[in-house]
């Protein structure tokens, strides 16, 4: 822990300019390129779930790509998933959706609202929403939030494996501070932190887990509540970039498993300049 960054530990630290030399892979997968990986780069035929605060269906930045909205209701010990209006209680889910839509304009978006006055973003609601998306067979599931509850460790571990074996790719934002959070730190998911390059087309693969990808998350121009826009920073906005690229890959290669999509993402990541 002698590097200058050690004073401010963060999951994003490996992607900072001073540390980027460490991101060189020992097994370069050099024959894959983005043209091949992305096909027509539309995301056509792929579903992407946004598990968050809801998605504003009327927002011009999602432009009619929202196919379905559900929310989790907690009653007693049970969590049930019910149909929801296309609303966003914060703006954050719409921000994530706008990033995905921008990168994969033909992908169909599904909003799974786990935040809001009715459930307070409890771990149980979050898990129920995630489980619903996995059971629905959604191709790519964006999770810009995570649970810190140790009690939920096993539940999320199980869900992450179910998604992985079932063909749903979980793309999770790591917390900005290096605390344990689930499922973002499990190996079956694609975990993402923000890098410090102002370019949505730049992403890095980190061969030193737990956080394996660094993507655009600094001063991102995103959609927000009530038809608005805002400039936002955080790992929350890095994850949907990788989700958008994953949707392109899945559309171009429908049979690709989560393992293969992750490998393609790693193979087509930017190589840090010497």
């Amino acid at each position: 822990m002698s590097s200058p960054d050690a004073a401010l530990p963060a999951w994003g630290a490996p992607f900072g300019e001073s540390r980027r030399d460490d991101l060189r892979r020992s097994a370069p997968l050099g024959r894959l390129d983005r043209d091949w990986a992305f096909g027509d780069a539309s995301g056509r035929g792929v579903t992407v779930a946004i598990v968050d605060s809801g998605v504003e269906g009327e927002h011009p930045a999602v432009a009619g790509s929202l196919r379905r909205s559900v929310r989790v209701e907690l009653s007693g010990g049970d969590a049930i998933v019910v149909a929801d209006e296309a609303v966003d209680v914060v703006g954050h889910g719409t921000a994530c959706a706008s990033i995905v839509h921008n990168l994969a304009p033909a992908a169909e978006l599904i909003s799974v609202r786990v935040l809001g006055p009715d459930n307070r973003g409890k771990g149980a609601a979050f898990a129920a929403g995630l489980e619903w998306a996995i059971d629905e067979g959604v191709d790519v599931i964006n999770l810009s939030l995570s649970s810190r509850s140790e009690a939920m460790f096993a539940v999320f571990h199980d869900l992450a494996d179910r998604a992985y074996f079932g063909g749903s790719l979980l793309v999770c934002a790591a917390n900005n501070v290096p605390v344990a959070s689930y499922p973002s730190l499990f190996s079956a998911v694609v975990s993402v932190a923000a890098h410090d390059v102002r370019d949505p087309a730049t992403w890095f693969y980190n061969p030193n887990p737990p956080v394996e990808f660094g993507a655009f998350g600094l001063d991102v121009d995103v959609a927000w509540k009530d038809g608005g826009r805002i400039v936002a920073t955080g790992n929350s906005f890095a994850a949907p970039h990788i989700a958008g690229y994953a949707a392109r890959i899945r559309a171009a290669h429908p049979a690709a498993t989560p393992f293969e999509i992750k490998t393609i993402l790693a193979a087509t990541a930017n190589v840090p300049q010497a």
């Binding site: 401010l8 530990p9 963060a10 994003g12 900072g16 605060s53 209680v89 914060v90 954050h92 935040l115 809001g116 006055p117 307070r120 973003g121 810009s144 939030l145 995570s146 810190r148 509850s149 934002a173 917390n175 900005n176 501070v177 605390v179 959070s181 923000a194 410090d196 998350g217 600094l218 001063d219 927000w224 509540k225 009530d226 608005g228 826009r229 805002i230 400039v231 936002a232 920073t233 955080g234 790992n235 929350s236």
Partner: protein
């Protein structure tokens, strides 16, 4: 035998000693300023100074009312927010509180509705802000917000990480002060630790019901809030802000009253002695 330290075999002298400790700790807790307010204030002041920010504030979740209450603030534009209580899922602070994910926003004045709400609530509309969660072992207990760098720059990833470091300091301070104030929790934790230590020695350990019974026994006095002496302690606590002259006056009054009480008591015992 270590088993003799087990709470179920706690001798009466030990219980009496515990009662004494509880009584003294409770008086100290009542006289202390609420929840380390001074420490929290110094943390937000340091935050403002280090970021060169217009304001910083700290909101803590109040489980009783289920609101996020802005407890302390610093900076030229900070004071307006103190005392404001919002729903734990309202706005940016609410999102950060419910998800535990930090967030930095710029150009927030572009979102007219955001600005209006902020202005109505605090009298100040920021251009940019960073909000990070106060993460404790059991979850998120509050939110630290920093508003507007005076040099006009937005908040970058490093700022998010730095704010998170301050948030951690605040969490530690809050945790320490809560422990201090909650004498019951303190006694309970100490006895549980003792019992766990005994269990690891292989001797019999107290179960949680036994510990609860002992805690109830030695803290019984704490419940009698109508005890005139407790009310007096609360009144004295209100003198925290008194100036030295006022305190001298109170001391003189108390000395006169205490002298009178002693004379009455000894007269009573003389009469009884006859």
């Amino acid at each position: 035998m270590t088993g003799e330290r087990s709470p179920e075999r706690l001798p009466e002298q030990a219980r009496e000693a515990l009662r004494q400790i509880v009584a003294r700790a409770s008086v100290a807790a009542r006289l202390a300023p609420p929840a380390g307010e001074a420490v929290l204030r110094s943390i937000v002041e340091a935050t403002v100074a280090l970021f060169g920010a217009e304001a910083a504030s700290l909101a803590l979740h109040d489980p009783a009312s289920d609101r996020l209450v802005f407890r302390v603030a610093a900076g030229s534009q900070g004071e307006g927010v103190v005392g404001l209580a919002i729903g734990p899922d309202q706005g940016v602070a609410g999102y950060v509180f419910t998800t535990g994910q930090p967030l930095a926003l710029s150009d927030v004045e572009r979102d007219a509705r955001f600005g209006r709400t902020a202005a109505e609530q605090t009298g100040f509309v920021p251009r940019s802000l960073v909000a990070v969660p106060l993460l404790d072992d059991e979850g998120t207990i509050g939110v630290l917000e920093v508003l507007d760098k005076r040099d006009g720059a937005g908040f970058d990833l490093r700022d998010v990480e730095l704010a998170s470091v301050f948030a951690r300091q605040a969490t530690v301070a809050i945790r320490a002060s809560r422990l201090e104030r909650d004498v019951r929790t303190l006694v309970h934790d100490t006895l549980s630790r003792l019992a766990a230590g005994d269990a690891s020695d292989g001797a019999g350990s107290a179960d949680s019901a036994t510990i609860a019974a002992i805690v109830a026994d030695v803290t019984r006095e704490l419940d009698s809030d109508d005890d005139p002496l407790w009310r007096l302690a609360d009144e004295i606590a209100r003198l925290r802000t008194a100036d030295p002259d006022e305190l001298d006056l109170v001391r003189e009054l108390l000395a006169v009253l205490a002298g009178r009480a002693e004379r009455t008591a000894s007269a009573r015992s003389r009469r009884r002695g006859r």
